[in-house]
Every structure is written in C-alpha cells, then in structure tokens.
Amino acid sequence: MIKLSNIEKTYEGASGPVHAIKGIDLHVKRGEIYGVIGLSGAGKSTLIRCINMLESPTQGTVVVDGQDLTAMNAIELRAARKNIGMIFQHFNLLSSATVYDNIAFPLKLIDTSKADIEKTVAPLLELVGLTDKRNQYPAQLSGGQKQRVGIARALASNPKVLLCDEATSALDPQTTKSILALIKDINQKLQLTVVLITHEMQVIKEICDKVAVIEKGVIAEEGTVLEVFTNPKAAITKEFISVIINHDIPEAFKDAEISPTPIPDSSLLVRLSFIGSSADEPVISGLIRRFNVDANIIYGNVDHIKSTPYGTLVLEITGGDTDIENSLKYLQERNLGIEVIGYVARHDHIAR
C-alpha cells in the first residue's frame, strides 16, 4: 500500500544543511497499522510528511496505492492527497468553523453538494461519537474531542491511508486510550491502512501490527511488534521498551556484585519471558518439584501485546551448585525466553 524507497531528506538549516533522513525504506501493507517510533529529532515527523509529500524528499520514491507521488505535478498530487487522510498532534482544526463544517471541509474543497456532505458527515459524527457537538466550535471541545473531529475530517474524503502525526501526544493517558481504540476500530471497519508516528512505546504496543524504530534518520530496527518487544536488538529499542517492560536488574541487586560465571555458594538470577501459550506452562512448580532448589520471584509482570499475553519474571534460584546448573538446563529446554543475569553471593543482599 505504501512503499518508501531510499528516502533522503536534507534541509537548509541555519547552521548548514541538516540531513534529517538518510536512506529509509519502508513497506506498509494494506490494512496494517504501522508504527514509527523515535525520539524528537530522529526524523520521524519528516518521514511521515514524506508519505503525503507535505515534505518532498530530496531523493527516493514514495509510492502510495500504486501511484508514485514523487513523479507527480502539483495538480495530480492534490488529487492523490485526497486518498491520504492525516491527523495531527495539535489537531489543526479551523477555529472559525463548527465541528460539522470542519469535518465537511475536505468535501467543500471539491464542491460537494450540501446533501452529499450531510450524507457523509452525519455518519462520521456518529462514528466518532460527536453527533451532539455538531454545531459547537473547536474551542468548546476537550482535546480528545478535538482529535475525534480531526479523525472524522481525515476520513471525510474516504481515504485509503490514514497518517497519524503524534496524534495522541497532546492527550492524557485515558483519552489516548480511547483515541487509539477509535483508530483501531476504523482500521478494522474501513480496512484503512494506518501509519502512525509517536515517541510513546505504549501507543505502539496498544494498536500497531508492525513497528520501525528510527534513530538519527535511519531505521534502527523493524519487525512485528511482538518480535521487537520480546527480542529487541538495537540499544534504542531496548530503551523504548524499558519504559513498559522492566529489563533492568532488580533494585535489590543493584549494589550486589553480579558474576557472569558460577561462583561457589551463590544463587542464580534469571529473567524468563513468556510469549503466548508458553505463558500457560507451570514452569516454576515444575522446577521446584524436579530439583532441590528454591525459586524466589524478584520481579514479575504480565501484559498483552495486541491480544498475545507476554510476561517477564525475574527469579532468584537458590540451592546446591549442581541443582542450580540442572535447573538452568531445565529452563533452557522449555519454550520460553531465558536470560541469565548472573550469579550473586547468597548473602550479599541479605540486608534488603
């Protein structure tokens, strides 16, 4: 549906040229929700603006729905943009127009008749739950309601693609949830392809199918959200994920000396991650029943990525040295992610 090939973008900044995007390839399939995450200044905002050519890339091609936007003249481009809806962080509504007129705006641009506008706008108001606000002005609405107007407006021209430029970054967590639910809902109802950019991992986790992590103008990592979450490779990805999933060493062991190899009279720290059905297997009770060890849960967390359960558990396993080795082998044979944090002297953290 969307194919960006070798996109480069250089600006003429105040202090010389700024190389915002350095060769990005991105492929978004029809009906997918694709998330792009990055810190501010990473180039994600420029990237999403390249998809509808609000920014024309210095190099590379942008193909949306089989049309090469980079090869178009201004008139063709304007026509193509009607296939691409966009919503913004600061909503960008017309303050001088009512909710109804804001949603009708893209239709008025193509001189749609009043009756046809009503036929399109009324169901959209219904869809975003603002039917009772149709004659109010944006200033009278809350942030979430304004974004709902933005979404309805973006949908009015019946686009195939929806671009979300930090669409929830100005909203509180609860409103963010409801807006994301709405985006997911229209993605399914209308078979809409969605590209969203954000700096919040929560947003990616909530609704995206795929994610690209962008850093300094290049894609550092990409894949399905589950893959990237459960097995992050780039440092920047780990950093983003750590906001939601704790990949740090538990607080109680922060000051303890952790050895990567077995030391006598020590306990083993492991981090287990469960994905999908492996979350159902009674691993810990199996462990204790088989070996003469104690398993102490230091940290635990179970979450869902889309609808797949995903959990992490940090265990401290104490017992005889051979028992610990056997336990580790047992865990490694199970269908789960395991990471050995290290060995700590058994009484090193007794004071906790």
Partner: protein
Amino acid sequence: MSQDMIILLVKALGETTYMVFISSLISALVGIPLGVILVTTDKGHILENLTVNRILGAVANAARSTPFIILMVAIIPITRVIVGTSIGTNAAIVPLTLAAIPFVGRLVETSLKEVEYGVIEAAKSMGATPMQIICRVLIPEAMPSLISGLTITVISLIGYSAMAGAIGGGGLGDLAIRYGYQRFRGDVMLATVVILIIQVQLVQSLGDYIANKLNKR
C-alpha cells in the same frame, strides 16, 4: 451657535464620512490582497516567491515612511489623472487611499501570520489549492484580527482626513482649522473635536463588536 454653523458642521461631517468611507473601502480591496501576497510569498509559505515578497515589502515600506501631508502634495499629478482635479474632496480620496493601502497590507500580513501553520498544513494534506487555502483557511481564521486591523485603518483615515483641508478637501478637520483656529471660533473647534471623538468611538465599538462576534477561539 448659529444655524449656519450647524449646516457647516453637518456638511463637514458628511465630507469626512465620505472621504473615509471611500478610501477605507478601496484600501481594503487592494490592501487585503497585498497582505495576502506578502504572507504567502514569504519563505516556506504556500506560494513562496522571495523576489515578489521583497519588492512588495520595500514598496510598502517606502509608502509608509512618507509623511501624509508630503505624500498628498507629491502625488498631485497622479491625483489629477485619476479624478481630473487636484482640489476638493474627491481629490483628497486619492492620497488617503494610497497612504492606507500599505498600512492595510502590513496589518493584514500581521493578522494572517497569526494563523497557525499547522492548519494550513492540514488543508494542504487534504488537497486544497493555494487559492482555497487563502480563501477558506487564512482569511476566515484571521477574520476577527482582520476586522480589528480594518477598524484601526478607518480610525487612522479619520485622522489623516483632517489634513485634506490643505488641498481643499473639506471635512471636519478643515472646518476646525479654518473656523475654529483661524477665526478664533472656540465653539466650532469644540464641536468638531466632539464629533470626531464620537465618530472614532462609534467606529471602534462597531469594530470590536464584529470582531468579538466572529471570534470563536
């Protein structure tokens, strides 16, 4: 005050109103597009064209830095071409309008610049043409501020029109000079000043009222 004086005052009020009305109207009709061009041809805007922008900006600045009384005399040949005479109320309208056009242009420019670029970007993303962006986004969004700017223009024109007496333009200012000042008629002076104050008050109140009505922010 004699009846003659009252007739003179009414006539002068009519002349002032006429001069200000016509010159406001024309300067708005020319000044608004000028302001639009000044904004949209600026760097990074929808019709970026720095050459046009700089030339228009320089012309507007030159016109605005010429004192009105000098401008009025300096353009007498042009006035003569346009209205056929260089004296009288109609002749005064030409310099008034010429002085007001760049003034309106700059005020409109300021108003339009207040419109957030994000809204323009949103319209672009929906496939709006530059003309549609100007007519359906920039101007409607800036309307309250544009009305305030036009109010200021009208009030400035009321002030400038007092100088129209220098070329026999008539009006309240002319009356105040010739009767109130040169013939020591304190009552006429007072009456014209009071009328001018009321006139300015009315214009300002009307402008504020409309701007408020249109402001939905």
